[in-house]
């Protein structure tokens, strides 16, 4: 499959083949779904909204509700102002959200719609909110859109009253609901009182109740987003997805923050835990120490099976950086690490990882899966890690494949369980080991098939 990929790598300047990213609006939609009783609104053609909802449904296996301005020829000539105003009126009337989070699209950006003005001209029902962010699809990626939507909420809502509320502002990065739960659990274990924005747990992993809730129980509360301005400090996880939010909280409300990588793997989780304990001046509870100890124990037990294995990792930049660091820290070789999202910062962070762990690795932002496939045709690796689209490469090159990141459209449960924290690291390790060891079993000659491994 997809074996038409030629081995010879020639430079491409104009053509993108098999992207490792998608466009900003879907990231904004995902972030907005992480706010309680929020309706994400796509200001553009109705196809955009339909595609984003489809992909989110395919990844989370959950309904993903969002509305659209349904642009027509007229709107694209005369501007989408009346579409947006009618849309807001209809949305409040029929779907009754507490807040509408508008994001733009390539179309509404190109024709120059001034969303802030449109919103200021709307009749917004008492106690309800409309916020927006600009998400031009031709800049950055879905990660940028996620980051921008967080800024949109802070921009419109967060206020500093001058009285601190003793809380931490946590920005979790572009991760699954399962990860958001784990980040909250770790913070709680450390005695941190927090507001996390966004929080898709309880929304995109909502339990079955036999009835359809347009707005499930989860999501960051509007009052808490307003209160972000009074937080003592902020912590952003994943520079690409969270740095802008941290910076904005500082600029707007003077909440000082620290930006760190996603807590993927033992080192990054240590740093996250240390950061929070530094703030609380508390101790790390035994429960977390125990989990960390279990992780180390498992690493030692199983190290012969992953040691020196070469791995290729693709996906969103913060995730890839975290996975590469974890792989390197346990003695694997993250040989090829690519992301579709543009940004030189990716190279810097990856160089740090390579240098610290003495890895001869190749990292590339704004790359695509066609290029990764070519790299792997020229140099075989032992394992491939990334979203579902990697299955084509894994099949063509007969590689063990660990599904991790976004999107995963051909498996279940992944979004419920974390890859962050010590428990997440244990889970990643289990996935890696299962993939490698299943392969060893599959390929073993009869006489070499082992009962005990």
């Amino acid at each position: 499959m997809l074996n038409g990929t030629p081995k010879e790598i020639s430079e491409r300047k104009a053509l993108r083949i098999n992207p490792a990213k998608t466009c900003q609006p879907i990231g904004a939609m995902y972030a907005a779904l992480g706010v309680h009783r929020c309706m994400p609104h796509s200001h553009g053609s109705q196809g955009c909204c339909s595609y984003h909802r489809t992909l989110l449904s395919r990844h989370f296996k959950e309904p993903a509700m969002a509305t659209t301005s349904s642009f027509t020829e007229g709107a694209s000539v005369f501007g989408g102002g009346s579409n947006l105003k009618t849309a807001a009126k209809n949305i409040f009337e029929i779907y009754d959200p507490d807040i509408i989070a508008v994001h733009t699209t390539c179309l509404s950006e190109t024709i120059g719609d001034d969303i802030r003005t449109y919103i200021s001209q709307m009749e917004i029902p008492e106690g309800k909110f409309v916020v927006h962010t600009n998400t031009p699809s031709y800049v950055g990626s879905h990660i940028t859109g996620f980051s921008n939507m967080i800024c949109g909420f802070i921009n419109y809502l967060s206020k500093s009253t001058g009285v601190k509320n003793g809380k931490a502002a946590l920005i979790p990065g572009f991760v699954n609901p399962g990860d958001m739960r784990e980040i909250k659990r770790i913070a709680s274990l450390l005695g941190v009182d927090y507001t996390m924005l966004p929080d898709t747990s309880g929304v995109l992993d909502a339990p079955m109740t036999g009835k359809f809730d347009m707005y499930p129980k989860g999501g960051t509360k509007i009052a808490d987003i307003i209160g972000l301005g009074d937080c003592d400090y902020s912590v952003g996880l994943g520079e690409f997805a969270s740095a802008a939010g941290v910076a904005l909280l500082d600029k707007k409300c003077k909440v000082k923050g620290n930006i760190m990588g996603l807590p993927i793997g033992i080192e990054a989780t240590d740093r996250f835990v240390m950061e929070l304990t530094k703030q609380t001046k508390g101790e790390v509870p035994y429960e977390l120490e125990e989990e960390r100890g279990q992780l180390v124990d498992i690493m030692i037990d199983s190290h012969p099976y992953f040691h020196n294995k070469k791995v290729a990792i693709f996906g969103d930049p913060d995730t890839v950086i975290g996975l590469a660091e974890f792989a390197a820290s346990i003695g694997m070789i993250p040989r090829f690490c690519i992301t579709g999202t543009p940004g030189e910062m990716f190279n810097q962070r990856m160089s740090d990882v390579f240098e610290r762990h003495n890895i001869d690795g190749i990292a590339k932002p704004a790359a695509d899966l066609f290029e990764l496939h070519q790299m792997l045709k020229n140099e075989k690796v032992d394992l491939l890690m990334g979203g579902t689209h990697g299955k084509y490469i894994a099949r063509a090159e007969d590689l063990p494949f660990v599904r991790i990141g976004f999107p995963i459209t051909d498996r279940y449960i992944h979004s419920y369980l974390p890859i962050v924290g010590y428990r997440g690291a244990i889970r990643i390790l289990e996935m890696i080991l299962n993939a490698l060891m299943d392969r060893q079993d599959r390929d073993a000659a009869d006489q070499d098939l082992e009962l005990v491994m």
């Binding site: 098999n18 309904p63 509305t67 029929i94 800049v139």
Partner: protein, 450 residues
């Protein structure tokens, strides 16, 4: 007569919903209401789904990356040949392209494809902003055709320029353009199959039946086809049109241009499959084929009916809700459910046409809710109100149905088994039975009963 209960619906939406017996009729074929959670896609999507299954074509999506990402290998169209179409090609327009124009990048992308892959056929899809930033896609495609001696067809499909049906039409125009590139050839006695996209290999099942009754296939449009195969289409003696929503226009145009008559067919359910095969044989005025078709359909329908018997017992008196893309499929599904003893209580489509809704309203049992371009709130309301046991729909409807503890069957891009023909009728019954009678619902129903 029963009245439609409409509390909680937008006023503008009420005209789009009716009961099967209503005299007033139903509004359809118009734009979605701004602010609706429409289940609809866009013009580009319509064009892409029709053309995508051409296996050796290079589909370049000219625009920002999203439209290429979301449609990468988007539907389960199977191939017996190359897999070129399963890649995603895009110009991935950036901010500077939006400011200075993306034309140069498009030319570059075509050059790079030609250099790397030596294609025969390239489709260039212009998405939302391409027209707005002023790229002259047509001239760029023409220049590339001239430079390389290949076929490069522009599909100007900005999402806002209509709905999915507009996109279908654009795709049909692109197919006509492709056909016009062929040298005139002698007429054959075979047929073209229009509107089957070989989801889960359905084209192969239908082709096999046609072979059995001695009907030759000239060109399959577009499932599992190639550039060369589509160019042969003008030589056919008859077009059979399966997905009328997307291909009715192409059939009409081919009749005008090439004088090829067409008949509408459906291969969903025993009744439709049998009728379609017989009608094809008759339409070809081929006595032998008629004879063969009679024997074949007779044997197969009896065989299939007996295979359905056990499922009919298991599915007796269940109620179905249908929400699919086009009206023609909805009509087939009502019949097919009836074969299984299941009553359709809610029937809706994204882009059904007026005449199709007429048929639906006549065909459906009295009191069936009929609705156009429904949103999830309406689907929920009417599935609840009608007490549907199963919903047939597409990807966005699946999680909604599950949340409502309603069984589900994907009759769209994510169908897992072929649902066409006699084989498909059995698969359909199996799938409906699997989901309706799965023990996973039990827990919920017990809890609800407490």
């Amino acid at each position: 007569m029963k009245q439609l209960e409409t509390t909680g619906l937008l006023d503008e939406r009420q005209k789009f919903i009716c009961l099967s017996g209503d005299k007033a009729g139903l509004k359809c074929e118009s734009d979605s209401v701004a602010g609706a959670i429409s289940q609809r896609a866009c013009v580009y999507c319509g064009a892409r789904v029709v053309l995508n299954p051409i296996t050796d074509a290079y589909h370049i999506i000219h625009g920002p990356i999203g439209c290429a990402s979301y449609t990468w290998d988007l539907r389960g169209s199977l191939t017996s040949g190359v897999e070129t179409y399963r890649n995603a090609f895009s110009t991935d327009l950036q901010e500077k392209d939006v400011i200075f124009g993306g034309g140069k990048k498009l030319t570059g992308a075509i050059d790079e494809i030609v250099l790397k892959f030596h294609p025969k056929l390239i489709f260039v899809y212009a998405t939302c902003i391409v027209g707005v930033i002023g790229d002259d896609v047509e001239s760029i495609c023409k220049a590339a055709e001239k430079k390389y001696g290949i076929i490069v067809i522009p599909v100007k499909s900005p999402g806002f320029s209509g709905n999915k049906s507009t996109g279908y039409r654009l795709a049909c125009d692109a197919l006509l353009e492709l056909m016009s590139c062929a040298r005139p050839a002698e007429k054959s006695i075979g047929i073209n199959i229009l509107g089957d996209f070989n989801l889960s290999g359905e084209m192969w099942i239908i082709s096999e039946y046609l072979k059995k009754i001695g009907v030759n296939i000239v060109s399959r449009i577009t499932g599992d086809s190639t550039c060369d195969e589509i160019m042969k289409a003008p030589t056919a003696a008859l077009n059979i049109v399966q997905c009328a929503g997307s291909m009715g226009y192409l059939a009409n145009r081919m009749e005008e241009i090439y004088g090829i008559p067409f008949i509408k067919v459906s291969f969903f359910g025993i009744e439709d499959t049998t009728n379609s095969l017989l009608r094809i044989a008759y339409a070809l005025h081929d006595g032998k084929a008629v004879e063969k078709a009679k024997n074949f359909t007779d044997k197969k329908s009896k065989e299939t009916a007996s295979l359905l018997e056990p499922y009919k017992r298991l599915l007796h008196d269940r109620k179905a809700a249908i929400y699919v893309g086009g009206g023609y499929k909805a009509i087939s599904l009502i019949r097919q459910f009836r074969e299984l003893g299941i009553r359709s209580v809610m029937v809706g489509t994204q882009t059904g046409k007026k005449d199709e809704y007429e048929v639906i309203r006549e065909l459906a049992d009295p009191g069936t809710v009929v609705l156009d371009d429904a949103n999830p709130a309406e689907l929920e309301k009417f599935m609840r109100q009608t007490g549907a046991d199963i919903l047939v729909g597409g990807v966005k409807e699946r999680p909604l149905a599950y949340k409502l503890a309603v069984a589900f069957c994907d009759h769209n891009h994510e169908r897992k088994q072929p649902l066409a023909g006699y084989d498909g009728a059995v698969n359909f019954a199996k799938e409906i039975n699997m989901t309706i009678n799965s023990p996973v619902w039990k827990l919920l129903k017990e809890e609800a009963a407490v």
